[in-house]
Structures are given as C-alpha cells and as structure tokens.
C-alpha cells in the first residue's frame, strides 16, 4: 500500500501535513505526536523582521469553529533560521516554511534568506486576513498574484507553494494566476474573513474587529474551493479547511488535493495529525486501495 505523494519533486511519506500557524514550529506538538510520522510540517509564518501581532483577544469560538486574528506574530527569519529550523530539521519529515510579508520586498528578503536553509519547500502566505486591507488585496487580485509568484520563483531555491485566500469571487482564476507565475503548487483555503460581536459587552469579540474563520464549519466551502482549484490548474493542490479526521481528509483528496493540512483540529485534539494518517491507511486497506494516488481527484 502506497501513501507517498509527490509535490514538485518533493516526496512526502504520506499526504498529511500541518496548517501554518496551528502547529508552531512543531516543538509544542512533539510532546503529543511523533513528528517523524507526518508527511510534512508547515511552520508558522515567518517575516523578514519580528512581528508583534495584534492586541488580545486574538481568538473567539463560534459554532463548530473559531476565529483568530493573531496578526502573524513571529520572531523574524533570523531567529527562526538559527533556532527553530535546525530543531525541525532533525526529524524525518519534510519541512515547509510559511513566508509572510507586507510587500513584495519583504517576501523576497525572507525567501532569499531561506535559500541555504534546511527547508524542503516554501509556502507563500498571500492570504492572511489579519494584517492589513491593502495587503489582503494582494492575494485577491490575479495580476498581483502572478507577478509576486514570478518574482519569488526567480530567486527561490526551493519549490514554491502559493497559499490562497478563499475571500475571492473566482478561486480558479487566482489559482491559474499562481500557476502562470510559475508556482509549483497552491494550498488553500486560508481562513474566511468574519466578525463576531459580544452582545453582553457590546463590542467586537476580537480586538482586531475581524478575524479568520476556521474549523469544521468551513469545511464544505474549503472542499468546494479545492475542487474548483484542482479543476483549474495542473500543478498540485494542497487542501485544508476544517479537517478533523480521515474522512474529512479523504474528501479533500477525492476533490483533487494531492496533500492535506490539519489546522484548527490540532487545538481540538493534539493527536489529530497522526489519527488522520492512521485513518487514511485504514480506509485504503478496507477499500483495497493500493495507491493513494488513485484517490486524488477521483470524484469529478
């Protein structure tokens, strides 16, 4: 039985990865799961300099989901490369570094800095809803997406995954723009922009007013968008959004995802990643699926 998948020449031992921002750099979760078992660890977004992030409260629970506005707090690429990346590189898993920035220049600085580092792939976050409005427009405009992807591809030493926002009218158009710019893969969905109001305090639940919605409640939207993106492009699609068990993961794979990421569910159960891997293996065994690749995009 084969669970290996290949993304831009990088072979993952299975299709299960972690969604950026939900798993730190792996250290906190290594107390619960053997990181060696994961297809890949996708790190929390890292920028050229340290970012303080947003004021608190940064999270709020909603029915079957949550909202966050962390604001991409991160220690900056120098500390990340010196401290976090070497720790992660000790594990027998692929390392995908999520890169964030406010401008093309900031992205390029980080991508360049990572050139000689033990990162197997880069994931470019052009979709965080919690930083600033102009910035989000980036991932929402196909012209900008194609241009930035092209600029990054020129200097990147690792394969480049563009992480897309669901807050667009036509996800296929954005995915095609990333492909046209030379992206090696796209990942989606980032969070859906939302708002929650605390009626007792008559204020916004999040200090940032708006936040990114994630968790089981977004899954149908995510599966639909992954399906549409997979129909639109030839490059691999990495699917995520509300995955909390193997059945959820298989939905994304059948819709066209080559790999999947577990995000919010890590907060619900720190063992989720490994449980998803085991559940996919059980499903394959039970249904006599010899190779996971038979399942990718099998539902059309």
């Amino acid at each position: 039985m084969n669970m290996k998948v290949n993304i831009a020449g990088v072979e993952l031992k299975n299709p299960v990865m972690t969604a950026s921002g939900t798993f730190g750099s792996g250290a906190e979760y290594s107390e619960f799961v053997d990181l060696n078992r994961l297809g890949a660890v996708v790190t929390k977004g890292v920028a050229d300099v340290p970012w303080e992030g947003n004021p608190t409260p940064r999270i709020a629970e909603i029915s079957s989901g949550m909202m966050n506005a962390i604001g991409l707090q991160n220690p900056g690429v120098e500390v990340f490369c010196k401290r976090d990346l070497p720790e992660l590189a000790k594990y027998d898993t692929k390392v995908i570094v999520n890169v964030c920035g406010h401008s093309p220049k900031e992205y390029l600085t980080v991508v360049e800095r990572l050139a000689e580092e033990p990162a197997d792939m880069l994931e470019i976050n052009i979709s965080c809803p919690n930083v600033n409005a102009n910035f989000l427009a980036f991932g929402q405009d196909p012209k900008h997406v194609e241009e930035l992807t092209g600029q990054i591809k020129k200097i990147a030493k690792q394969p480049v995954i563009m992480k897309l926002t669901p807050n667009v009218t036509d996800i296929g158009e954005i995915a095609r723009a990333a492909e046209a710019g030379g992206a090696d893969a796209v990942s989606l969905i980032n969070t859906l922009t939302g708002m929650k109001i605390d009626v007792n305090r008559r204020t916004f639940a999040l200090a940032n007013k708006t936040g990114g919605v994630s968790g089981p409640c977004v899954k149908p939207v995510a599966v639909r968008m992954v399906y549409q993106a997979a129909q639109a492009v030839k490059i691999p699609v990495i699917g995520m959004g509300g995955i909390q068990n193997a059945e959820d993961a298989l939905e994304f794979i059948l819709a066209g995802a080559t790999a999947v990421s577990v995000g919010t569910a890590n907060f619900m159960n720190p063992y989720t990643t490994v449980e998803v891997i085991e559940g996919i293996a059980e499903y394959m065994k039970k249904n006599k699926v010899e190779d996971i690749r038979e399942l990718i995009g099998a539902v059309r």
Binding site: T22, E28, E31, E52, I59, E61, N266
Partner: protein
C-alpha cells in the same frame, strides 16, 4: 513527565455559590505531576464547541489520583460542565503552564491573593507553601466559597465589594485595614486587581507573582492566541509578548505589562 490528554471521570460536582461549581475529577496521571498554580484544558462533549476551556487547578489529591477544579459559568461550555453528573466523563489535558514558584516563598511571609474565580488556585498553593501564609480572598458579596479550604493552611482574610463579609473593598483594602505584612505576593484574579497588586508590590518593594488569564486556543504554546505584553523582548517570541499558557500563567509582576 509530560502533558497528558485523558478521559477523566467525574467523582463529584457541587454548587458552591451562584454560578460557581466544584468538580472532583479522576485524573491520576495529571494529579501525579500537577503543581499549585497550573491549569488543565477541559474539552466540551458538545462537538460544536471546539476549543478546550482552561481552568485552574484548585486542589490536587495525589493519593486518590484526583484533581479539583472550581469554575464559574462563563458561557455555554462551562454551563455544559455544570450540568454533568458523577460517573460521567470529560476529556482533559494537563498539567499546563508553570505554577507558582513555591521555592521563592520557603521560610518567608507570603500573601496569597485571589479575586473572584482567581481564588481557587490558592487552596493548593496554601497547602504546599512552606511559608507563613496569609490568604486574602476578594469576593463580590456574601456568596463566599472555599472558605474552609482556604482557612485550613494559614490565616484567611476576606474582603467583599459590598462589605457584607470582612473588609469592604478589595484585597488591598483588606491588607491596609488589617495592617498585614509579607515578603512575597502570589496573586490570581481579574486584570484591574492584578494591576493594583503589581503597583502595591512595587511601592512596598515586594516580590510579586501574578497568574494571568487570556482567551486560549491550543493551551500548549503553539497558537499564540493568549499572549500578554512583556517588559523586555521575550526569549521565545523575540518580541515583547509572552505566551500565558506556556510561559505563564504565572509571571513575575515586573516582567509583564498590564
């Protein structure tokens, strides 16, 4: 020793005061490791409420392998817990965070200051303190809870906002009214109370540790939701933010901004 996620059986549940409940949980692996001032994450059985509720540990019974949490109904999740019966189960994760630095108070005079739902962790803290303990508990009104437990391991001084029991006012009013003195303060309670205690400690040149609270998601230091502002650049975050769940919840008062 490691954090454990386990299914815990409810041994008993009691209503202590309006909206304040006490749960004894069987949790041998967590009880064996837990220290005063740590907390556990309690998961809802309703799958629509996806995030665990962080609740401080009130008592640790290592012999019975049990933990006591005392919590207030703050929303639907805690209301769900309050409706549960002995024999039913809850999933919990712990022990989480760093507790109070008990070695800092050995042989010294300590104020254990709790306000409202910040009072419960002071029960186990008082029990394990090898110190001259004065517990100062601030309540809203005459709905006093945990009085016997708090009085069992030191002097207990009570303040109430409405003056119905003890000093009228807050924990610091009780200190002044009773001319109480100590070398170290351990405090847990709402932010305005902690802010006032920090100022008091500074003024009186006392060592002061504060247990902080914030909305949490993961509870283990990964998601960066529950940060507080730190005076200096934090070693982990590389910015002036500390993670309450992982680096705290107890901090030296002078290292955090509040």
């Amino acid at each position: 020793m490691a954090k454990v996620k386990m299914i815990s059986r409810i041994i008993s549940q009691d209503l202590l005061a309006p909206d304040i409940y006490s749960l004894w949980l069987s949790a041998d692996e967590i009880a064996a490791q837990a220290k005063p001032g740590q907390f556990i994450s309690v998961y809802c059985n309703d799958s629509g409420r996806i995030l665990p509720r962080p609740i401080s540990i009130c008592e640790i019974d290592r012999e019975r392998g049990a933990l006591r949490i005392v919590y207030r109904i703050a929303g639907k999740g805690t209301a769900e817990f309050a409706g549960m019966e002995p024999g039913e189960t809850l999933e919990i994760l712990g022990p989480l965070g760093n507790g109070f630095p008990m070695e800092e108070i050995r042989g010294k005079r300590v104020f254990l200051m709790g306000g409202g739902i910040g009072i419960p962790p002071m029960v186990q803290t008082a029990r394990e303190a090898e110190a001259d303990v004065t517990v100062i508990a601030g309540y809203r009104n005459s709905d006093i809870f945990l009085k016997e437990e708090l009085a069992a391991n030191g002097r207990l001084v009570i303040a109430t906002e409405d003056g119905s029991v003890g000093t009228k006012g807050n924990v610091l009013d009780a200190v002044r009214e009773n001319s109480l003195q100590a070398d170290v303060i351990f405090a847990c309670g709402p932010t305005p109370m902690l802010r006032a205690i920090k100022a008091y400690a500074l003024e009186h040149q006392m060592i002061c540790y504060l247990s902080m609270e914030e909305r949490m998601a993961c509870g283990i230091g990964a998601c960066l939701a529950c940060v507080c502002k730190s005076k200096e650049v934090d070693h982990h975050s590389n910015v002036k933010n500390k993670r309450i769940c992982k680096d705290g919840p107890v901090f030296l008062s002078t290292e955090v901004e509040l």
